[in-house]
Amino acid sequence: MFSEAAIKELEEIRQKYPSARAALLPAIYIAQKEFGWLSQDAYEAVANALGVPKAIARGVGTFYAMYKHKPLGRNIVQLCTNVSCMILGAERLVDFLKNKYGLEPGGTTPDGRFSLVIMECIGACGTAPAMLVNDDFYENLTEEYIEEILGKYK
């Protein structure tokens, strides 16, 4: 079930769209924020809140790769391994995360602190390699720098 704040947010969003179905994407995003990831229950909550068939809500959500369809850690590390980052050693950073934190691409640390998602280009080719931790952006990464950054996230 959505919290009151989320319900209010959903209502506001609904007003901005001509039909309930058009409001699905931001509504699913709210559910993701609310529940951490998009479980069946989360889709059902979205569908009920908007009055959209639940199968359709799930169908729309699963189209997009950037919605989370499994439970992830408290902090999400999104590391780019596209051309520029790769040339400047992003793949070594992947190995580092694996060796140092036990963090596999797509995986979560046993303590639930971090999840790693390998992402496509984030437009930081000039300052590669780059990554996002939650909504924060980091560039010119090295192994030491990553260690320092991740230390900030508990």
Binding site: Y43, P53, K54, A55, I56, G59, T62
Partner: protein, 868 residues
């Protein structure tokens, strides 16, 4: 006039259509996969690409509208290349498991690849794997085969209106799933199965049991379940029904079916079917020969007639039997047993309601074409969920909503909740006040037209103020005014009436009010019918007051016609209704009853009392396909042939007569034939060699069916009023019964004590009487009786889904698992009357409306307690 050229052939068209349709009309085939005539245009598969002069790129024929002077080519080198390419892409993932795929032989992809496709693949990568799909008891998904044409999704959403499935994931991973990813949570119409071009969604019922080319026969017939009368194609191999499919272009259902029609056919081949006659000896039913059984029935009926007179005999006809069966049945009762004590379960609502409405508006007032509903600009629905009782009619209401029509409902209707209904939900026992209010408001808005004085005299004095509605019904003035505005402004309204009206307190008065709404709005009435031949049975004269052709028995002129035709003199007195027969059995004045294809011990309310009453009867004959609760009480049980094993006709709720055809061979006799044999044994001349002979007699003796033949019915022309003489003039005074509403109890509820719940009848989509018990697929979907309660009731008794509760009323109790249904009223509990020993009717008492003679089921109060 639009002139276009396709492949050098000039085509003239009246109105703009798509290139695909234009080509089809000229006999030019353009291959397609995603396009389907029942679905909206999609343009997804790209197989129908064609060359159009002056357009530089290939165009999809299924979405491109023709324009005057267009020159189109559908078979060129470039197009062939493209088709081959598309098919090659589809085959990257589509498995070549045709040797064990049930679809092979009727697979559209297979056919196209054979015709256009590449012989080899250039892809070395492995095909995708999509696990799962076998979780559902009915619908088997094999998503590796899915080509994502989305026909099923468009069918589910755009036609069926269930929106139970969707495309999930994207790109090469996309496929179709119900919400759960496993089991379907849907209406099980199976229309997705119909439109799937490959073997991705299929029915489990016939899985791996035949190849399409091994089907030995295909027979077009009519569905055995409800009064809509959908056309079915029954496909048979080795005298076993393998599959039931719809056909596009049939008048009522046009390529669509519901769960019962599509998956409910397995009762025909059930091992529990009766095979030989049974005779009760020392209290036990024992197998007997036909000769023994027939001569015993003839002898005993003759004795009882001689000793107690004709009025001591009664007959119960069947709304599941054909017109021919029912005609012969009533003729037997009238001519051989010389009684008018003939009735059926149509008396539980349909018969009385129809008689009442026709008395006001004339015969044929309810004979309206079902697909016409979708063209109405407003549909007013009261007394039941049409999407569960008559699902295909329900689809027309959904189509009406989709086309911009207004859906106006009295009470909450589950199957229409997603279709923007405008709902007025009156408190229990206040429906009458609400209807009076609607009549008053419409009178004020529109004025009485003056054409039906008799009806006007009855409703002139009705004047219910909005305030009273607010007070008694709990409906706000705003909601009421909005409802009236929409209703009164519609120009082509329809009214859909469910059985609950006839089965509620003041049924006849409510029907008067609804008739008045119909009159003021100049609307069309649709009377929902739960059985396939409920209408036909009445038209054949299986009623205590009707002769064949729906002719009133008490008119000497009509009686005379049949006396001449049958060369007998007919009893003049109106016979006993089915409930009067039960009373007569109870007091011992009914000595013999002949029951054809009906199970009154289960299908009549207060079923325990019905059972006790029947036990009083000296001699009971039951003719059925299964040994029912009623059959167990019988002295003689006669096994009949069932639907799909016999020929005949059904008359659906629009009074369309349709042909029922034999699809499966089975030894035995049709119902009419058994009765004819008994008649012969009793000295009457019933000489028919086949069902058509019976129909010829019907057409000869009844002015309604004048000149009608099977041939004409087969052409699809048998629509009311046929070529015969319907009765128009209003014949009797309009009478109504309007009992005062019961007082409020201490708990604030009308008619029931504090702490009790209203016991209401659930009419489920997946079941129909007791027949569906023998259809394993339907039982799999809806396996057991449940008590549906509201969330509030569940909370107050701290019940959760699946808990066993004891539901008790004054006359009995049942133990059932509980199901929590948000849509159930917090003061009600819903029970179905379909499952053995768990029928709601065993807990329900009734009173009879003296006008329509239907049982009022209101006022049954139930208590529920947790058992475990």
């Amino acid at each position: 006039m639009i002139t276009i050229t396709i492949n050098g052939k000039e085509i003239k068209l009246e109105k703009p259509v798509t290139v695909l349709e234009a080509a089809k009309s000229a006999g030019i085939k353009i291959p397609t996969l995603c396009s389907h005539e029942q679905l909206e245009k999609y343009g997804g598969c790209r197989l129908c690409l064609v060359e159009v002069e002056k357009i530089p790129r290939l165009q999809t024929a299924c979405t491109l509208m023709v324009a005057d002077g267009m020159v189109i080519k559908t078979e060129t080198e470039q197009i062939a290349d493209v088709r081959r390419g598309i098919l090659e892409f589809l085959l990257i993932n589509h498995p070549l498991d045709c040797p064990y795929c049930d679809k092979a032989g009727e697979c559209e992809l297979q056919d196209l690849v054979v015709k256009y496709g590449p012989a080899t693949s250039r892809f070395k990568e492995k095909k995708r794997k999509v696990p799962g799909g076998l979780e559902d008891p009915i619908l088997v998904r094999n998503m590796e085969r899915c080509i994502v044409c989305t026909r099923c999704v468009r069918m589910c959403e755009g036609v069926q209106g269930a929106s139970a499935i969707a495309v999930i994931n994207r790109g090469g991973h996309s496929h179709i799933e119900p919400f759960s990813g496993g089991r379907f949570d849907c209406e099980y119409c199976g229309n997705c199965v119909s439109v799937c071009p490959v073997g991705s969604i299929m029915s489990r019922l016939h899985r791996h049991s035949y190849r399409p080319w091994q089907l030995m026969s295909e027979t077009e017939t009519i569905c055995p379940y409800c009064g809509v009368g959908c056309t079915l194609v029954v496909q048979v191999r080795d005298d076993i029904i393998k599959r039931v499919v719809p056909r596009i272009g049939t008048p009522v259902n046009n390529g669509l079916l519901c769960s019962r029609g599509r998956f409910g056919y397995e009762f025909v081949g059930s091992k529990e079917r009766l095979t030989t006659p049974l005779i009760k000896k020392n209290g036990m039913l024992e197998q007997a020969t036909w000769e023994e059984a027939i001569s015993l029935v003839a002898k005993r009926l003759g004795e009882i007639k001689d000793n107690f007179g004709s009025s001591a005999m009664g007959g119960i006809a069947s709304p599941r039997c054909t017109n021919e069966d029912n005609y012969v049945f009533q003729k037997f009762m009238r001519v051989v047993l010389e009684t008018n004590n003939i009735d059926s379960t149509a008396r539980t609502g349909f018969a009385g309601a129809q008689g009442f409405i026709e008395n006001i508006f004339g015969q044929g007032a309810t004979a309206n074409i079902i697909p016409g509903l979708s063209n109405s600009d407003a549909v007013f629905i009261i007394g039941g969920d049409p999407t569960a009782i008559n699902p295909i009619l329900g689809l027309q209401i959904r189509a009406c909503s989709r086309g911009g029509g207004n859906i106006l409902t009295i009470g909450h209707i589950k199957g229409l909740e997603k279709f923007n209904p405008v709902v007025l939900k009156p408190e229990f026992y206040s429906e009458t006040v609400l209807l009076e209010g609607i009549v008053s408001a419409l009178k004020n808005k529109k004025g009485l037209p003056g054409s039906n004085q008799k009806l006007e005299a009855k409703v002139k004095g009705i004047n219910t103020a909005v305030e009273e509605i607010g007070e008694k019904c709990g409906i706000t003035e705003e909601d009421f005014t909005k409802f009236i505005e929409i209703l009164s402004e519609s120009s082509t309204p329809s009214i859909v009436i469910g059985k609950e009206i006839a089965q509620s307190s003041g049924g006849s008065y409510k029907l008067l009010l609804i008739s008045a709404i119909n009159y003021l709005m100049n609307a069309r009435i649709y009377l929902l019918s739960e059985r396939a031949n409920e209408q036909g049975l009445l038209d054949m004269g299986c009623a205590p007051d009707l002769l064949p052709g729906y002719r009133t028995l008490t008119f000497a002129e009509f009686r005379k016609r049949y006396e001449t035709a049958w060369k007998v003199s007919l009893p003049e007195k109106t016979g006993l209704s089915i409930f009067e027969m039960i009373d007569a059995a109870k007091n011992g004045s009914l000595k013999a009853v002949y029951i054809m294809g009906e199970n009154p011990v289960f299908n009549l309310p207060n079923s325990k009392a019905v059972e006790e009453a029947l036990k009083n009867i000296d001699f009971i004959v039951v003719q059925d396909i299964f040994l029912t609760e009623t059959g167990k009480l019988a002295d003689v049980v006669l096994p009949a042939l069932s639907w799909s094993e016999k020929d005949g006709t059904f008359t659906n709720m629009e009074r369309r007569i349709q042909r029922l055809r034999k699809a499966v061979n089975r030894e035995g006799m049709e119902d009419w034939m058994i009765i004819a044999e008994i008649s012969k044994n009793m000295g009457a001349k019933f000489n028919y060699s086949e069902a058509e002979d019976v129909f010829k007699e019907i057409a000869r003796v009844s002015p309604l069916y004048r000149d009608m033949t099977y041939e004409e019915i087969e052409k699809g022309d048998a629509i009311y009023p046929y070529k015969g003489e319907p009765l128009r003039g209003v014949t009797e005074e309009i009478q109504v019964h309007n009992p005062p509403e019961p007082p409020l109890s201490k708990g604030g509820l009308r008619g029931i004590a504090a702490g009790k719940l209203y016991l209401r009848l659930e009419r489920p989509l997946f079941h129909s009487g007791t027949l569906s018990r023998k259809a394993p697929a339907l039982v799999n979907i809806y396996p057991e009786a449940v008590a549906r309660i509201s969330l509030a009731t569940a909370k107050s008794l701290s019940l959760k889904a699946g808990d066993i509760v004891k539901v008790s009323t004054k006359i009995g109790s049942l133990e059932l698992p509980v199901e929590i249904d948000k849509k159930v009223d917090s003061s009600a509990i819903m029970l179905s009357n379909n499952f053995e020993d768990k029928g709601a009717f065993s807990l329900m008492e009734y009173t009879i409306d003296p006008v329509i003679k239907a049982p009022c089921l209101d006022g049954n109060e139930a208590k529920i307690e947790k058992v475990k």
